[in-house]
């Protein structure tokens, strides 16, 4: 175990680039559909199924007999027959707690497993009530299906993936996505923001520099990002959006119109099957109206009678317009944050299936004052960009000069006295980024702090999104105000927060306990903690090794100096025994076992103990009488340190 752990951190042990080549993939884990893409001969391409279909519907069916079906069959057949056991649009629930989910429950057919108010995660009751699954597990099942597809195509294991997330995803949603990847047995090299991925696909394609807006309206999320492409540096200037606004909302708005016209009460909920059916009817009508001007529609009422009618594009657009209008403020804010106006934009990139709607294209054209770009399939562009990034990260042979500079979508702050939020990391800061804050103890011998991290732009903690509560423990007991704790917050390139703390007086490292407010099951947290312990173990091991090496060097040079200075004080076979111990320690010092080095030091201490004692007596006798023994010991220590210092310098 110890050996294995040390192997992990052995310098230069990283896997050869050659072995990973062509084995990294990009995954667009979408609300409605998911895709996986790889770079083949320098060109990114989505991997299709045997029927040539690249899109995998993000739907998972859980049968009572334990069967799990992912994709088209789950979406188009099983969802109709078993609406409660087939989870679609699971992305909306990622990183959400039961209370958040309340808002998205309307018109969803799912049964939620009962959960305590403190439960940080939603659970769907599936398999006819025999199983409760979290959104993370559902997403992991989708990822497993994509993994299988890629491994079949590559004829070998997948070595690492880049998974895309909406730029506006908060920390909890990102954590949940990364955990889903791990649960599916994937090495997640990076979480990449969807708009950045799209720009990467376009930027490499067009090889142009300039300022671009990426308008991404997916099934369940809306993102707007402003990016500057400058000689291979993709810099995100600002980002905004709504993680609960997307094509599904159009379906819902249309469904409400259909239900109203059929004389049904949308709010009543009805049965799950009927709800699913009317949403599907709405979706089909929306898609048909992309090209047609009217389409026949039918709704089965709760009394089983059927209503038949016609929906026109104008009626559909009237229902969708209020939903679409919700995109405008975020677009304006993003341009303001990037310090640009529509006149500075060199292009607007469309991403997401919903941008196929003529209504959406007209809206974008009016908002940005130009015809948007759509020459890469808006359903595939994100996965293609992710594949490019995966290839870059895995060390493929792509031009090595491309760097993505992404940003934090939401400010991170700490709740202070009185519930006010003090922002530590401001939104649109380039990641990775960090901030430090120093705290002082307010009571004598206080050994811990509780910190509450909040995400969002609001002034008060309760208005923002609670991210995590951190318990800092292990602060050395000192009088009030003496202990000064420096807490460092770091947001990594995936946009995920980590926290570390150090007491400044003693340099002692306080431990950080993470209690995320949303998204992770206890097992997940436990695993995360185990992971952090594993790292801590690795760090501690290296530190101990370094310390023992230094100590060994110190005692060796001190002994050498003593032998040279007072050889006459040696007795009997002391010299060969000391020399033997020194030789042993010398060879142990080159090894990596800190315990062995420590034993070697103790052994040398033991064999030279009497000799050292005689040297001490000699020193006392030589006219140092009357002085404090401590002072002399101190001087001898000093001497040792000096000799150590000189030996160090000679290396």
């Amino acid at each position: 175990m110890a050996e294995a752990l040390f192997q992990i951190s052995e310098p230069g042990e990283s896997r050869s680039k050659e072995a990973c080549k062509g084995r990294a993939a990009g995954i667009d884990l979408g609300t409605t559909n998911s895709l996986i893409a790889i770079v083949n001969a320098g060109e990114p391409q989505c991997l299709p199924d045997e029927r040539g279909e690249a899109l995998v519907p993000s739907a998972v069916y859980y049968g009572a007999d334990g069967t799990i079906a992912v994709g088209a069959r789950a979406r188009h057949e099983l969802a109709l027959v078993h609406p409660k056991d087939t989870i679609v649009s699971v992305k909306r629930f990622m990183g959400r707690g039961p209370n958040d989910a309340e808002a998205t429950r309307k018109l969803t057919p799912y049964v939620f497993a009962p959960s305590a108010a403190s439960d940080p995660v939603v659970r769907f009751s599936v398999a006819q009530g025999k199983r409760a699954v979290t959104p993370i597990e559902v997403s992991a099942d989708i990822l497993r299906a994509l993994k299988q597809r890629a491994e079949a195509a590559l004829d070998g294991p997948l070595d690492g993936v880049v998974i895309t997330v909406p730029a506006y995803f908060d920390d909890g949603q990102r954590q949940a996505t990364r955990d889903a990847g791990r649960l599916a047995g994937l090495e997640v090299l990076r979480l990449l923001n969807e708009p950045t991925a799209a720009a990467l696909a376009y930027g490499l394609d067009k090889k142009v520099d300039g300022t671009f807006a990426v308008f991404d309206l997916g099934g369940g999320t809306f993102d707007i990002s402003i990016l500057v492409l400058d000689g291979g540096v993709f810099e995100v200037k600002s980002t905004g959006g709504d993680s609960a606004l997307g094509g599904d909302d159009f379906d819902r708005a249309i469904a409400e119109v259909l239900l109203a016209r059929a004389g049904e009460d949308a709010a009543a909920g009805g049965n799950a099957q009927a709800a699913r059916a009317v949403l599907d009817a709405a979706k089909r009508a929306k898609e048909a109206l992309t090209t047609a001007h009217e389409t026949p529609v039918s709704v089965t009422r709760s009394d089983r009678s059927v209503w038949n009618g016609v929906l026109t594009r104008a009626e559909m657009e009237a229902a969708c317009q209020p939903v679409l209008n919700r995109c405008a403020p975020a677009c304006k804010q993003a341009m303001k944050d990037a310090h640009i106006t529509v006149g500075n934009l060199d292009g607007v990139i469309l991403v997401g299936g919903a941008t196929r709607m003529p209504l959406v294209r007209a809206f974008v054209k009016e908002l940005f004052g130009q015809e948007p770009l759509a020459d890469i399939d808006p359903d595939q562009v994100v996965a293609l960009g992710a594949a490019v990034q995966a290839e870059l990260l895995a060390g493929g042979d792509n031009p090595g000069d491309i760097v993505l500079l992404d940003v934090v979508p939401l400010s991170l702050g700490l709740e202070m006295m009185g519930g006010v939020v003090e922002k530590l990391i401001h939104r649109n800061s380039t990641v990775p980024c960090g901030a430090t804050q120093t705290f002082t103890t307010y009571a004598d011998n206080q050994t811990g702090f509780d910190l509450h991290v909040v995400q969002g732009e609001r002034e008060m903690a309760h208005e923002g999104r609670s991210l995590a509560r951190f318990k800092l423990t292990g602060v050395p007991p000192l009088p009030a105000g003496m202990a000064r704790l420096e807490v460092t917050f770091t947001v990594d390139a995936d946009g995920i927060l980590s926290v570390s703390a150090q007491e400044l007086m003693t340099g002692q490292v306080a431990s950080v306990q993470v209690k995320p407010s949303y998204g992770l099951t206890d097992e997940e947290v436990e695993r995360m903690l185990l992971d952090s312990y594993a790292h801590a173990d690795e760090d501690v091991r290296l530190r101990l090794l370094t310390e023992q090496r230094v100590e060994a060097e110190r005692i060796l040079s001190a002994t050498r100096a003593a032998l040279a200075a007072t050889p006459e004080l040696l007795q009997g076979d002391e010299l060969p025994r000391i020399e033997e111990s020194m030789a042993a320690l010398e060879s142990l010092k080159g090894g990596t076992d800190h315990n062995a080095i420590h034993k070697g030091i103790e052994n040398l201490d033991l064999t030279s103990k009497n000799f050292a004692a005689r040297r001490m007596n000699r020193a006392l006798e030589q006219g140092l009488r009357g002085r404090d023994l401590g002072v002399i010991e101190h001087e001898i220590e000093e001497h040792k340190v000096k000799s150590h210092g000189s030996s160090e310098a000679s290396h």
Binding site: I8, S9, E10, P11, G12, E13, S14, R15, K17, C20, G160, L189, R190, D230, V233, Q389, L392, L393, A394, G395, D401, V403, L404, L405, M416, M417, G418, V420, S429, T430, V431, P432, C433, G434, E459, T490, D492, A493, H535, E538, H651
Partner: protein
């Protein structure tokens, strides 16, 4: 420093001269040193941006996605520091305040500045004429709002914006000149800049931000 990878004692640069491994930062270099810019207010912004991007390209975590934990940590630490440096230096006000802080005066506090002394820090109160002026302007703002006097509002915004730009220019001139007492002069102007800025922000927010709303 001792390279974590080859254990050789090498210069504390970005990469180990012996084995090429990425090295962690040695201590906490100031933003100017880190990016490799002269420590002064006036900067060649294009060169500064170029240097930031070049350094980022070299040490970004994306380049080390598959490297071992120590290399990944060093890449992250260096990139975090570079991003912080660039964020501070690209913005004239942040750059000026940072430079003043390096020169011993902290402009960060609500009630004036802190000056580093041999024994610790001493507080320097805000110029009372500035406070009186701001109080007067706030009253004028409230009055103009109440009476929906848009001409007066526009006039007030223009006045404060002019004062703001004037104070910023003075701070910058003092910082570039670096004569005796210029750091103090710059700090005083930067305190005024903060007050004007807040006043202008409250204008843009429709006046919902009240003085002192920044801290609770």
């Amino acid at each position: 420093m001792i390279c974590w990878s080859c254990q050789k004692n090498v210069a504390a640069t970005e990469f180990c001269s012996a084995c090429g491994a990425i090295l962690p930062l040695d201590g906490r270099p100031d933003h100017f040193t880190l990016i490799g810019a002269p420590m002064r207010f006036s900067q060649d912004m294009a060169a500064l941006e170029r240097r930031y991007k070049e350094s980022t390209r070299a040490v970004h975590p994306d380049k080390f996605a598959r490297a071992d934990a120590q290399a990944r940590r060093a890449a992250m630490q260096r990139t975090v520091a570079l991003n912080e440096a660039w964020r501070t230096l690209r913005d004239p006000i942040a750059r000026a305040e940072y430079l003043v802080r390096l020169l011993g005066i902290d402009v960060g506090t609500e009630d004036g500045t802190l000056r580093r002394t041999e024994t610790g820090q001493e507080k320097v109160a805000v110029d009372p004429t500035l406070l009186a002026d701001m109080m007067e302007k706030r009253e004028a703002l409230m009055e103009a709002r109440e009476q929906e006097d848009y001409a007066a509002l526009a006039r007030l915004a223009r006045q404060v914006r002019a004062s703001y730009e004037q104070a910023l220019l003075e701070a910058q001139t003092a910082l570039d000149r670096q004569a005796a007492g210029d750091t103090e002069r710059a700090a005083k102007c930067l305190v005024a800049v903060r007050y004007y800025r807040r006043f202008l922000d409250s204008f843009e927010d429709g006046g919902h931000a009240s003085p002192g709303a920044q801290h609770g």
